[in-house]
């Protein structure tokens, strides 16, 4: 079961990669990058999850009222990947804003989102 979850995460990552490389539309490429970003974030959270077997799900790493840190350490999921994902989500937001601004200007200059027509450079 666990392997299936990981493989699904990698499959989402591949869809993003496919869109970035094979699609010929600026918006589709942006969408592909977002999917790629989601998949990597998901992978980080999956890596940090801890299941407690018969006792249920892993708990959020937040000290509840009347709980001792030792109890928290025995039941909570890993907080470090969550901090990393928080950073990664914010990076994604910044990149989205920049990409949207660039897409607006590209559309204004070329009148299209089609990368086949956006080809002044030789590559």
């Amino acid at each position: 079961m666990g392997t299936a979850i990981y493989i699904l995460a990698f499959a989402v990552l591949l869809i993003g990669l496919y869109a970035v490389v094979a699609k010929k539309n600026v918006i589709k490429i942006i969408v592909g990058l977002l999917v790629f970003d989601y998949a990597v974030n998901l992978l980080l959270v999956l890596v940090g999850y801890r299941s407690l077997g018969s006792e249920g799900w892993g708990k959020p790493p937040i000290l509840a009222e009347g709980q001792t840190p030792a109890q928290l350490a025995a039941t909570a999921v890993d907080p470090l990947p969550q901090a990393m994902v928080l950073t990664s989500i914010v990076i994604g937001l910044g990149l989205t804003a920049l990409m949207v601004a660039m897409a607006i200007r590209i559309y204004e200059r070329y009148g299209t989102f089609d990368t086949n027509q956006i080809r002044k450079l030789r590559g």
Partner: protein
């Protein structure tokens, strides 16, 4: 001296925040460039001061060293070398940008973004923590996307978008590699990961997956050949000081440096990684220069040469990794390889930024980048063409200049490690580079003045000053090779080869 290390990152970032605030106050608006230059000058002085000390290790926030809860900043020989290179080229670029950027609107935005890029690159070379390395790689990358698009013309936007897409894919791969390494070891500190990886199995599929993700992501950032498509568009499209920064230091700090760090200090050199590095390096070296020969756009030609010259560095770093991975490694030989690679890295930073700045100066005065439309500039722009010649002679590897010595050391090191064929290839590439720059001299500087070059006059004094500084340094580093090896490159190579020295506590965890 410990307190200097974070200042290298904070000063440019703080200056950038100040520059944005200053831009809203009318009488301070025109001083952002001066503020930026001062901040980078202070940074350069601090970076030079660091050479007086040994290896510095700092745990940010005081959360260490017992269980590495915090982020470690490592300032060893290699970090010092890179920090001085970065801040030197940045200072020259800012001096050049003063007059050059008058042609653009809102120059304060340029100052702020470039300052953030410089701070982030300093952060990259001082990082002793995998995730911290990723974060600062990403800051530098995003700043460079914005700078490539700074002119807002159609080609610039297109090149920036292409660069952004490929750069983001590379970053995501790097984060994936960091994730896998974290899942195996539970640590992000580079030294700790290096220590724990053998317990997880060095050749196991998970480690190989992480290595593949990290190396392909970093190869994308360094524009090694199968991943080079963005560089010849992005670097010429940026304003000239930014081209100098991108080609001169960004691909080194966030590509080659990070690759060397990861291979030597995190994964540990093995024959497989060495083979990957050497393949990437040899392919970039050859294909980059072959693509460069046919170019008629001066800045594109220089950009392709960046790929080729970085190929030299990665190739010889790969050779060093191969030597270090042998059962009984010959550390002196590996040190020689790294000396050649790192010396060439410094030299390339100097002469390639010099060449990009002189191309910017030519473009500023004549309004063209096409070699065929220039001609006779040697008479009209004396300082610029003199500096351009110094840069061309350096990159082509003509004896008294620095490029000759580093290429010679690389070729000797390749022969000594038993790669005669690769050494011959390196000689061939050096020869083609020479031909390619003879072409530049012939069309741009000599001959009768063509249409656009006829009315050209010398560039403003500050732009000339920036180029002269770099030209002098090109000669000086070539002559000061022995003391530089002793005090700069020796410790830098040691930092890579003695991975154990990065371990702060030693002993079993």
């Amino acid at each position: 001296m410990m307190f200097i290390v974070p200042l290298l990152v904070i000063l440019p970032l703080g200056a950038a925040f100040c520059a944005v605030a200053m831009a809203e106050v009318s009488f301070l608006k025109r001083w952002t460039g001066s503020l930026a230059t001062l901040a980078v000058l202070a940074n350069l002085v601090l970076a030079v001061l660091l050479f007086g000390t040994g290896d510095l290790k700092l745990f940010v926030g005081g959360w260490g060293p017992a269980n590495t809860l915090g982020i470690e900043m490592v300032c060893d020989g290699l970090s010092k070398l890179m920090a001085v290179t970065i801040n030197l080229v940045s200072l020259v670029s800012f001096i050049f940008a003063g007059p050059y950027m008058r042609r653009f609107t809102k120059p304060w935005l340029f100052d702020a973004i470039l300052l953030i890029m410089i701070g982030a690159m300093n952060g990259v070379v001082l990082a002793g923590d995998l995730f911290n390395l990723f974060v600062f790689l990403e800051v530098a990358a995003i700043a460079s996307y914005a700078l490539v698009a700074f002119g807002c013309e159609a080609e610039e936007l297109e090149a920036a978008f292409k660069y952004l897409v490929l750069g983001t894919v590379g970053s995501a791969f790097i984060l994936m590699g960091v994730t896998v390494l974290y899942s195996l070891t539970g640590q992000l500190n580079m030294a700790k990961v290096h220590m724990l990886l053998p317990k997880a199995g060095l050749g196991s599929p998970a480690v190989l997956l992480a290595a593949a993700a990290l190396l392909s992501g970093l190869a994308l950032k360094a524009a090694m050949v199968p991943f080079h498509a963005w560089l010849p568009d992005a670097h010429p499209s940026a304003p000239a000081p930014v081209s100098a920064m991108l080609s001169g230091v960004l691909i080194k700090a966030s590509g080659v440096y990070a690759m060397a760090r990861i291979v030597f200090n995190v994964l540990g050199p093995t024959p497989q990684y060495a083979a990957i590095l050497m393949t990437l390096g040899a392919a970039s070296m050859l294909i980059g220069v072959l693509l460069a020969v046919g170019q008629w756009d001066l800045k594109r030609l220089l950009a392709y040469h960046s790929i080729s010259q970085m190929g030299y560095v990665v190739l010889v770093i790969g050779a060093a990794a191969q030597v270090a991975a042998r059962p009984s490694p010959d550390m002196a030989l590996a040190g020689l390889c790294l000396f050649g690679g790192l010396f060439h890295l410094l030299n390339h930073a100097l002469f390639k930024s010099l060449l990009f700045l002189s191309s910017g100066s030519i473009e500023h005065q004549t309004g063209t980048r096409e070699l065929k439309k220039m001609g006779g500039l040697a008479r009209r722009m004396k300082v610029t063409s003199f500096c351009c010649r110094v840069g061309a002679l350096s990159i082509a590897g003509v004896p008294p200049f620095n490029g000759f010595f580093s290429k010679l050391i690389i070729i000797v090191a390749l022969v000594l490690t038993g790669h005669g064929v690769l050494a011959a290839l390196a000689v061939f590439v050096a020869f083609v580079t020479l031909i390619s720059f003879v072409k530049v001299q012939r069309y741009a500087l000599e001959g009768p003045p063509a249409g656009l070059a006829a009315q050209a006059c010398e560039a403003p004094a500050l732009m000339c000053a920036a180029m002269v500084i770099l030209a002098v340094l090109c000669v000086a580093t070539g002559l000061a090779i022995v003391p530089l090896r002793e005090h700069v490159f020796g410790p830098a190579a040691d930092a890579l080869l003695s991975a154990g020295r990065l371990v702060s506590m030693g002993g079993a965890p």
